[in-house]
């Protein structure tokens, strides 16, 4: 038996939500005077994003990014930007934790995942181990950005 190609179903991976978000230009721009910027890179496959965030009175007003990468990494970044705008930093941190929890299959309750919105599209990415790091890149990068503002 050869593994790898069997557990995955491309129909489940390249859904409309993901392919459309991967091309979305909504958050793809350079933010002027961002509160914080952070670069996130997957050296093995070349996903490379530059995230910039505007935070005022602890509220995330804008999330923008530039860079390039596979459809999964780009869609995940776009979806995350959508979700995070308007949230407090603490809420955002909680959602990052929940997203990573979902990927790791620690959080599986559908109701619990509702607040992740479109990001729930990545629920089964762990069936495709080679692509997990693409899906989580922007979320880890945002968390690092928050840590940078703290220090």
């Amino acid at each position: 038996m050869q593994g790898g190609g069997l557990a995955l179903d491309l129909n489940e991976l390249y859904t409309e939500i993901i392919t459309e978000h991967s091309r979305s230009q909504k958050h793809r721009y350079l933010l002027e005077n961002p509160s914080v910027t952070m670069r996130g890179v997957n050296p093995s496959c070349g996903d490379d994003i530059n995230l910039s965030v505007n935070i005022k009175d602890n509220i995330i007003n804008q999330v923008a990014f530039t860079g390039e990468g596979c459809a999964i990494s780009q869609a995940s970044t776009s979806i995350m930007a959508d979700i995070m705008e308007g949230k407090t930093v603490d809420e955002a941190r909680r959602l990052i934790k929940k997203f990573i929890g979902m990927i790791k299959k620690d959080v599986t309750d559908e109701k619990d995942l509702e607040e992740l919105g479109d990001a729930a599209a990545f629920e089964n990415i762990s069936n495709m181990p080679a692509r997990v790091k693409c899906a989580v890149l922007s979320w880890h990068t945002l968390e690092e950005a928050f840590n940078k503002t703290k220090s």
């Binding site: 790898g4 390249y14 693409c134």
Partner: protein, 413 residues
């Protein structure tokens, strides 16, 4: 159907959908024939002991297996009498030995180390470290847009300040066979030492190290049917004899006193610690397998496959081959991109059809920057691949854009 495929058990396996793996990642590593697998098992079953140590028969047998593998390697690349063959873990380790033991010893401030921009990180990063330690500089021979080294670049970049030239015989990104004879001739004319990374040449074409007159020549066994964990550093004895050891410890010493030691002669001086004799036996069996077919015949088989792959890929809309899209002057390594589909997504889509290719920068980031692409997909053949493997690749690639939402999706049942 290629008859050699029957010698490779992994390639004959079928998956749940009754498909063989379409293995096109041979530039990364190759599959192993039965004879190689048997040689490894046979060593452990019948001859396992620590070589060079015991005075008992079994240890002598292990030593003989290691030394007969060395002899086989010497003949395979025609090391001749001027060169010695040292076993390493792989090309990376061999290149680190040269950069550290030769580079860091003999480079001086202001010297130049000349590399090709197409080098694999393993023939680039070790030189950055050695050059930095000695205040030397790295300068690059640039390729044209097709990945070809223009003759004038060789003359322009290899100058009186050049002490070391380190270049791959064949690029692992584009498959281009570099003008290594011209590079060696130029380097020797001005007195520089030449390191040839033979990782992608040795498995695919006849190589004559004596005729090339390379000062150092390295390759990995696992890219030419041998097990993982065995590589070769072939070097001129007169250079090796003046280099300090790389790994200090057992097996590489002559006399050890409380405060000082003297070292064993070449090649043992560079083979600290117990060697991977089983893998050396496997490498020897791999060489026997390749010799039986003949390296010239292997080159012919692969040229036919490469011509067919280029023809197929050149006809896929939105697909662009990086480097040259012609079959001349290359081996069967073909990098490509598809409009609007990231290489990593292409690899995932191919994987769903049980096709294995590499996606990314192939350990050559400066070269990708030079060619103006961030990453590529890379299909690479070996002697066991079939025309059917290429057809499967081409069919699957035709669907790649549709999966990403360009045109209607294919329904998979």
């Amino acid at each position: 159907m290629n008859k050699y495929i029957n010698d490779f058990p992994l390639l004959l396996q079928k998956d749940e959908k009754n498909r063989r793996i379409d293995y096109l990642d041979n530039a990364a590593t190759t599959q192993k024939p039965e004879t190689v697998l048997d040689a490894v098992a046979q060593f452990y079953r019948t001859s396992n002991a620590n070589p060079h140590r015991g005075t008992y028969d079994l240890s002598i047998k292990a030593t003989e297996i290691l030394e007969s593998a060395r002899k086989n390697v010497c003949e395979f690349i025609n090391a001749g009498t001027e060169n010695a063959v040292i076993f390493t873990k792989n090309s990376t380790e061999a290149l680190n030995i040269i950069a550290q033991s030769y580079g860091s010893t003999f480079l001086k401030g202001g010297d130049h180390v000349v590399l090709a921009i197409s080098e694999h990180h393993s023939n680039l990063v070790p030189w950055q470290i050695a050059a930095k330690a000695k205040g030397a500089e790295i300068s690059y021979i640039y390729t044209d847009n097709s990945g070809i080294i223009p003759p004038e670049e060789i003359v322009k970049k290899i100058t009186a300040r050049t002490k070391i030239v380190a270049v791959a015989y064949v690029s692992n990104v584009t498959g281009r066979i570099n003008p290594i004879e011209a590079i060696i001739e130029r380097a020797h004319k001005i007195g520089a030492v030449v390191v040839v990374d033979g990782t992608q040449s040795t498995p695919h074409m006849p190589v004559d190290v004596s005729k090339l007159d390379a000062d150092f020549y390295v390759f990995s066994g696992h890219k030419m049917l041998a097990p993982l964990g065995i590589g070769v550093l072939c070097g001129k004895k007169k250079l090796l004899e003046n280099m300090p050891p790389f790994l200090y410890g057992g097996d590489m010493i002559e006399y050890v006193e409380e405060q000082t030691s003297t070292y064993a002669p070449i090649p043992q001086r560079f083979e600290g610690g117990t060697q991977n004799v089983a893998a050396a036996a496997g490498l020897s069996a791999a060489i026997n397998y390749l010799n039986e077919i003949g390296m010239s015949n292997i080159q012919k088989i692969e040229t036919t496959l490469t011509e067919y792959m280029l023809e197929k890929l050149n006809n896929i809309p939105h697909l662009k081959i990086i480097g040259s899209n012609k079959p001349e002057g290359r081996i069967g390594v073909v990098p490509f991109i598809i409009d609007d589909v990231h290489p990593h997504d292409i690899a995932t889509i191919l994987n769903a059809d049980n096709i294995a290719v590499r996606a990314g920068h192939h350990c050559a980031q400066p070269f990708h920057a030079h060619l103006g692409v961030s990453s590529t997909c890379r299909a690479s053949v070996y002697l066991y691949n079939t025309m059917d493997d290429i057809d499967r690749l081409a069919e699957s690639l035709k669907d790649a854009r549709r999966w990403l939402g360009f045109g209607s999706k294919r329904i998979v049942h």
